[in-house]
């Protein structure tokens, strides 16, 4: 048996979400290729991977999971879809394989004491929504200025789109703004009625919580109904190139959260260029390297690799880690700025450190603005408000545990 750490890659390159799924998947693959080419693997353990097409469909995702989870040296799963995450959340504890859901998935899973196997690294829908409100407040001249204002939420009518609602309601209560909810039926190609309603109720701000084609359609409809684009704010899943590219000038002024940095300057992207693309081994087109979702893919895979590295520190360098060991690594990750700089991730993300209780590790994001041709980071880092999130997460995870008749992990379990 060769020493190989296996990374299963669930992805979708067909169907309605392909334009967003593809760069994401490419980034994930390229990083692994780069690690193999540059470092010869993780402390000598070669990385293998296999991609499985889910088409964003839950049942196919489950099949992929079942197929790939039995591979020797399987590391962790990144389902790339909220629906699949829900299904796998039930299965992962049984199979003892961790799930990484960077910036998506179950918001309550940040509570590592309840969700031992889920890792919503770097932020969840709740942190995103929280930061978005902070930013809107800031633009309005202070959160207190939101009183009496109206904010509309145009969201993908699915668990993905509905997750942020509890948090937004919490914030609405706090600041006294009115929250108008406008669901859009998936995949979101027809939004005329939604935007007519926006035009009628004239909200001060609109939050866009879409994925895939829904985003560009929303921007086009905003343009068609004359809603000012600079009053339109998107989540980080509505802030990549495919979302705005074909709207072009029409989306100028649109702001969206930036979970991660991007661009081709950073060292890690340069390394990928050098070790992968220049050798003709790039997974996708060269010009998408360094784009928003591509870079997110790179970060996800870096975190996976680092988790393995961390696990090796405890369980034996140069060994293939099991899912359980990787889980420990994920839970005890500590990437400070120095490490990030060393790995070439400067400017792409904030330091991240996890613990048994905190599976998110970092709750920061910035805001970017589309200038008609490209995205530009236009704000400093925001951090979501612990005070609001904590109780919500606690309540949610308590309910989850009660429903499942499970108990919270104890300190002993945290050592394992």
């Amino acid at each position: 048996q060769a020493k190989e750490q296996f990374f299963p890659l669930l992805s979708y390159r067909t169907g309605p979400y392909a334009p967003n799924g593809t760069p994401w998947a490419n980034g994930k693959q390229d990083y692994l290729k780069m690690i193999n080419a540059r470092d010869g693997g993780i402390n000598g353990v070669k990385i293998t991977f296999e991609e499985c097409e889910t088409g964003y469909a839950t049942d196919r995702g489950v099949e992929c999971y079942e197929r790939l989870k039995t591979r020797p040296g399987v590391t962790l799963f990144d389902p790339q879809a909220t629906g699949i995450t829900f299904a796998l959340t039930e299965k992962a504890p049984v199979d003892k394989i961790p799930l990484m859901t960077l910036g998506y998935g179950l918001s309550v899973a940040a509570d590592g004491m309840a969700f031992k196997w889920n890792f919503p690294y770097m932020g969840s829908y709740w942190t995103g929504a929280d930061i978005l409100i902070q930013h809107i407040g800031k633009n309005a001249g202070g959160l207190d200025k939101l009183k009496g204002k109206k904010i509309a939420l145009v969201y993908h009518d699915s668990p993905f789109g509905k997750e942020p609602i509890p948090l937004l309601q919490e914030r609405a209560k706090m600041h006294g703004f009115e929250l108008q909810m406008l669901p859009v039926t998936a995949p979101g190609v027809e939004q005329k009625a939604t935007w007519l309603q926006v035009r009628q109720s004239r909200p001060d701000y609109v939050m866009l919580w879409g994925w895939g084609v829904m985003n560009s359609t929303a921007l086009k409809e905003a343009q068609a109904t004359g809603f000012p684009r600079d009053k339109l704010y998107g989540v980080w899943w509505a802030g990549a190139e495919p979302d705005v590219r074909d709207v072009g000038e029409g989306a100028k002024g649109y702001q969206a959260l930036a979970l991660n940095g991007y661009g081709t300057q950073s060292k890690v992207i340069q390394d990928i260029m050098k070790h992968v693309h220049d050798k003709g081994q790039g997974t996708g087109a060269k010009d998408e390297v360094g784009s928003v979702l591509y870079t997110r893919g790179v970060i996800i895979q870096m975190l996976g690799v680092e988790a393995v590295r961390r696990a090796q520190e405890r369980f034996g360098k140069g060994k293939v880690m099991t899912g359980e060991q990787v889980r420990w690594g994920m839970e005890n990750l500590n990437l400070d700025q120095k490490k990030l700089d060393a790995m070439g991730f400067t400017g792409l993300m904030r330091p991240l450190s996890t613990s048994c209780a905190d599976h998110m590790g970092s709750t920061w994001a910035r805001v970017q603005t589309w200038d008609g041709k490209k995205w530009n980071i236009t704000s400093d880092w925001y951090q979501s408000d612990e005070q609001i999130l904590k109780p919500l997460i606690k309540a949610g995870s308590d309910k989850y545990l009660a429903d499942k008749k499970l108990t919270r992990r104890d300190a002993a379990d945290c050592q394992s």
């Binding site: 992805s11 390159r13 067909t14 392909a18 593809t22 998947a25 991609e51 499985c52 097409e53 088409g55 469909a57 839950t58 049942d59 196919r60 489950v62 099949e63 079942e66 197929r67 989870k69 039995t70 909220t82 629906g83 829900f86 299904a87 959340t89 039930e90 299965k91 049984v94 009518d157 699915s158 668990p159 993905f160 509905k162 997750e163 609602i165 509890p166 669901p183 039926t185 998936a186 997974t283 949610g396 429903d403 499942k404 008749k405």
Partner: protein
């Protein structure tokens, strides 16, 4: 001449009315059941259970339900996904709201919810026919998609609309391991298939088929179109609802409304048509075709193309898979428009004549 009924004389109508009047068929089925219940558990891996067998068994059950409505009663429906969803969420609600309710009653209650929903959306069939009805049943589909997203009560007030169940057990035996899940589903499938077979070869089945083939003539010989159609909707949606509940409880464990999207409705219809309308056996063939083919293609296509020295990108595989899938559907239809079951029975007919060509 291994396969033929010659020489097997029936001395009573009862004997002739058996499900499998031909001895070879009986033996074959017995072997198949033995294989499914005994040999498979000895051989199958966990992957095979969870990714192949369990979905296959549950989808066979659903296809069987659809076949009763579409194949036997001739009412084309694209709302099957909705019936599955109603079954799943119905069973879920009984399951969580009545703590201690055993699994099987919950599933049956889920099925009954689907029955009710099915009858409701079957009412238009009394006036609307054919493709018009097919499209109209999509109303059920989209309505249920919306209902389970929007009405929080159905999802036990879950914020996201996603719900989950666990700790399944039957008569004290946990249904947790893949093998247990498989055997449980298989058992239900066999029982329901048997009941369904009894129905379709009995009086009610004849009514359904009569309505399908020529409804005016059927009413002249005393068949009430309303009763026949609504009973078909009821039975079919009960079975589909059960299948939906199994899909949610046993296969997915945790699900959201999108798990029962319009895609599933289409897939179920494919299964029935590809497998053979008006054939219980056909439902199984159809389910196998639609469930297995993508998995097989996905796994073997790259290797296969590799043999010919074609390097293909990951996206390419997905697209090629779509193309091959579509191509195969068309090809099978051309070979036998009446489905795989017909192909099977023609094969048997040839066997009967064997070794003579005609």
């Amino acid at each position: 001449m291994l396969y033929r009924e010659n020489g097997q004389f029936k001395t009573s109508y009862r004997a002739d009315q058996q499900i499998f009047p031909i001895t070879q068929d009986r033996v074959g089925i017995a072997l198949l059941l033995a294989f499914a219940f005994i040999a498979v558990p000895l051989l199958a891996s966990n992957y095979f259970y969870t990714a192949v067998l369990i979905p296959l068994v549950i989808m066979s059950l659903a296809a069987l339900g659809v076949n009763i409505l579409v194949g036997y009663c001739g009412q084309i429906s694209l709302g099957s996904g909705a019936f599955m969803a109603v079954g799943a969420y119905g069973a879920f609600n009984f399951f969580v709201r009545f703590p201690g309710l055993p699994l099987i009653p919950a599933l049956i209650l889920g099925g009954l919810c689907a029955t009710f929903f099915g009858i409701l959306f079957g009412l238009p069939s009394l006036r609307v026919k054919g493709l018009y009805l097919a499209v109209a049943t999509l109303a059920a589909q989209f309505f249920s998609d919306w209902m389970f997203l929007r009405i929080k009560w159905f999802t036990n007030n879950s914020d996201s609309g996603s719900v989950s169940v666990n700790h399944l057990q039957v008569l004290g035996m946990p249904i947790e391991s893949p093998m247990a899940k498989y055997l449980f589903c298989l058992f239900l499938l066999v029982v329901i298939a048997l009941l369904a077979k009894n129905l379709v070869r009995g009086a009610i089945g004849r009514e359904w088929m009569a309505i399908r083939d020529m409804d005016v003539a059927a009413s002249v010989i005393g068949i009430r179109p309303m009763y026949a159609k609504l009973s078909a909707f009821a039975v079919s949606s009960f079975i589909i609802g059960m299948a939906g509940a199994l899909w949610a409880f046993v296969h997915l464990g945790s699900w959201e409304p999108a798990a029962f999207s319009v895609d599933i409705s289409f897939k179920l219809l494919f299964m029935v048509i590809i497998g053979g309308m008006g054939s219980i056996m056909g439902s199984f063939f159809g389910a196998a075709f639609i469930v297995l083919l993508p998995i097989v293609l996905n796994q073997f296509l790259p290797a296969l193309l590799g043999l010919f020295g074609i390097e293909i990108s990951t996206a390419g595989v997905s697209h090629a898979e779509l193309m091959i899938f579509g191509g195969l559907i068309v090809w099978f239809l051309i070979v036998e428009p009446h489905g795989l079951a017909k192909l099977w029975s023609m094969g048997k007919q040839k066997m009967r004549l064997w070794p003579f060509p005609h």
